[in-house]
Amino acid sequence: MSFTHEIKSNRLLEDEITDNFHDISPPLTDKQVLIESERCLFCYDAPCINACPTDIDVPLFIRKINTENYHGAAKEILEKNILGGSCARVCPTETLCQQACVRNTEHDEPVAIGKLQRFAVDHLDTTQPYPFDRAASTGKHVAIVGAGPAGLSCAHRLARDGHKVTIYEAAAKSGGLNEYGIALYKLVDDYAQKEIDFVLQIGGIDIKYQHALGKDVNLNQLRENHDAVFLSIGMGNVNALNIPGEQYPNVEDAVAYVSELRQTNNLASLAVGKNIIVIGAGMTAIDIAVQSKKLGAENVTIVYRRNQSAMGASEHEQELAYKNGVSFVFNAQPKQIVGDENGISTMEFIRTQQSSNGKLQCKDEIISMPCDVVFKAIGQQLDSSPFGNDNPPALDQRGRIAVNEQFQTSLDKVFAGGDCINGKDLVVEAVDHGNKAALAIHQQLQQD
């Protein structure tokens, strides 16, 4: 077998790449904000509030924007969602608040709630005192594992309530998905770190970096040394294709590549394939496909075994991919990747079709597509190995940490939230988990 690898860095000039990775949704101007905020009808029992996992009072903050009470608008948002700034940027608003907007009719379009929220949080008046107070110390100490959105929101609530919080973070930076997993053009200018600085201003939160659960600390120790534990460890494992050829070089986890992309100081130096195949149909698939194009890949194709209507990525996200020149192939199930220890040349798929009962059937047709890189973006799993075998928390049917309505696990005083429990795997939902778990933890600690 012979093939030439076409994986190389500097496919585009540095300036071109910088341009490509500009903020995809630039902030609204004052004038746009005036017009957009005026469109909000200040609905009674507004459906957008209900659609927001963190229950942000959308009409109220928009009204405050409209009266130029920007600081009040920002406080309104942050009170409910301390990561309201990043949520404004990364939330799939088209499937959340903006989908619920009553203006979302055939004659109209929804109020741009996400963009208005970003404007509000960006206009928090930092010359004013920090908008949250810390209650008198309770003497209680809570351990949080993972400094992602769930862990940070939980920590902030607990700190406000006067508890001492130590966060154990495996990585060198906090932020979790916001720092390592969001497409670069959705969260620019090191926003995740700036937001975390703001979160930590409450005081009483200590973050221990490069402290991985199961390696540098273990759950039993944490339970012994703290009054409660909140697990927000995200999902550590990437689903495998389980097909021949998956072991070859350049068959990569999309999540790992995005993380590398977000952390590099020089985007042009990243190695990029010429013909890239992305397997998956969710946000991660779109993110890696679009970013590959922006780095200069010639052909990027998202291949999904079902049809377009079954895609997890919203229409808005799919449109983004089309606009960036990403191709789609539907009804094609991975069969094998052809290559050797030096790399890969083609990937083969079996043509599928949807049967009348909704089941996916394989047809007698093989599709072969040239590729030098394959990205796997078919979901992630909780990595439960850090819990070890000595009294781990119970898992649910999806293999994630089982919790009750109070976000308590099967273990006493151990709570969990974010992507490591069952949910929609959204940043805003993780924030909600953190908020609610903090409330439950606070209530329990008060009873002690």
Binding site: I35, E38, Y44, D45, R103
Partner: protein, 423 residues
């Protein structure tokens, strides 16, 4: 096609749209542009005695809607700040060049017979079609004993009007100030003095806003402000009412009226005419959009008249006056209620919030966030219209008549009225 040409106190005009006495009519350049655009006439910005007053810098204050939509604005400008002779010369020339267009000259001189006696012949010599007495200007000039200071004292109005009729053969229009309690009193005084017509309303005493940084009212002149004359679409309802009061009162009903106050489009103009005006004067809309709006004013009015079968302005003049009455004559047995058209409702709940919080709890909310519905509780609905007012969808809430089967009954004859009159 309907004929917009009309006659007002013997003055023929190609259409009922004149520019009111204000900055747009301050000099020949503007007036000629207005005539070129198609305006039927102008009331030339108020002339006074020399030396002309001096205006300050920073002159207009605005009252915005939330989206920078100008609801109204005010001004603290005085009468023309150009020498009398320049104005007279320009009026003479423009009238000569535009014989089919109306030029009315607005005047304001001290409340002394000699002052009027001096200026009137000069104005008459220009060939202008008439004069308008500025008894309304609410700012600046009253401090010098002119403008609204005259307009607020019916005896002065009568006296000055009489001088004008005595020393000048031109038709006299008296411009009324709304800054009084009963506009019929100055109108009646004008009539007694021999006025050919009244025009109203002049601008309303106002402070549009306060700069919360400098604590100065706007418009701010070196850190200080003063009340100015308010105008624009926000004043239209006030003007319509005042016009109708003069048209309805038997004592003043015979007075022709030139309607002024927030006329922004042809529909406003038609409304003024149905309530008593014979023509309208426009200022703010032109100041906001330029003279080009005259096209829509004429076109829209003419088209509406065609649809209604009116061939000229007189056909619908004062048409709404018979239906404009005192509260005591309204039918207390009339009932209307709100109907929410679910096909057009977008479930914003504004009607519910308004009715539940501030009115009669007559709207029922059912369902949850994803599937909610608002409907009217007929027995609780008093037909106040608030839900329709708050509704952002034009066709979602309709007010419908309910047949009560009861005959007309006004408060005048109502059994609950201790002072009722027998039918």
């Amino acid at each position: 096609m309907a004929n917009l040409a009309c006659e007002f106190i013997g003055i023929k005009s190609i259409n009922p749209f004149w520019l009111a006495s204000a900055p747009p009519t301050d000099k020949a350049y503007n007036v000629v542009r207005a005539f070129e655009a198609g305006w039927g006439g102008v009331v030339w910005k108020t002339l006074g005695e020399d030396p002309a007053p001096i205006n300050v810098s920073s002159r207009y204050g605005v009252h915005y809607g939330q989206n920078r939509q100008v609801l109204g604005f005010n001004n603290i400008e005085l009468i023309t700040d150009r020498p009398l002779q320049i104005n007279l010369d320009e009026i003479t020339q423009v009238k000569k060049d535009w014989p089919d267009r109306v030029i009315i000259v607005s005047l304001m001189v001290p409340c002394e017979e000699q002052s009027w006696k001096d200026i009137l012949p000069l104005v008459e010599a220009t060939g202008a079609d008439g004069i308008e007495l500025n008894f309304g200007c609410p700012h600046g000039m009253p401090e010098r004993g002119m403008g609204a200071a005259v307009g607020q004292v019916p005896e002065y109005i009568e006296m000055v009007t009489r001088w004008c009729k005595q020393y000048c053969s031109l038709p006299v229009i008296v411009k009324l100030t709304p800054n009084i309690t009963d506009v019929r009193k100055p109108a009646a005084a004008a009539l007694r003095g021999g006025a050919d017509a009244v025009s109203l309303i002049n601008t309303i005493n106002s402070i549009t806003s306060v700069n919360l940084e400098t604590m100065s009212p706007e418009p701010s002149v070196d850190g200080k402000g003063t009340h100015g004359g308010y105008c624009g679409s926000a004043v239209k309802p006030i003007a319509l009412s005042m016009v109708s009061e003069i048209a309805r009162d038997p004592e003043t009903a015979s007075l022709p009226i030139s309607g002024i106050g927030g006329v922004s489009n042809w529909r406003d103009a038609a409304e003024f005419i149905t309530l008593g005006a014979s023509n309208v004067q426009v200022c703010t809309a032109a100041m906001l959009y330029g003279f080009g709006i005259i096209n829509d004013l004429c076109d829209g009015l003419s088209d509406w008249m065609d649809k209604k079968g009116y061939s000229n302005i007189n056909d619908f003049s004062r048409a709404a006056i018979p239906n404009t009455t005192d509260w005591k004559h309204l039918n207390m047995n009339y009932k209307r209620i709100a109907r929410i058209n679910q096909d057009n409702c977008i479930q914003c709940g504004r009607c519910f919030a308004a009715c539940e919080d501030t009115s009669h709890q007559a709207i029922l909310k059912t369902g949850d966030f994803d599937n909610r519905e608002y409907s009217v509780i007929d027995d609780e609905c008093v037909g106040c219209n608030l839900c329709q007012v708050t509704c952002p969808e034009p066709n979602a809430i309709e007010m419908v008549d309910v047949d009560t089967g009861e005959e007309h009954l006004s408060w005048l004859h109502h059994p609950a009225n201790p002072y009722r009159e027998e039918k």
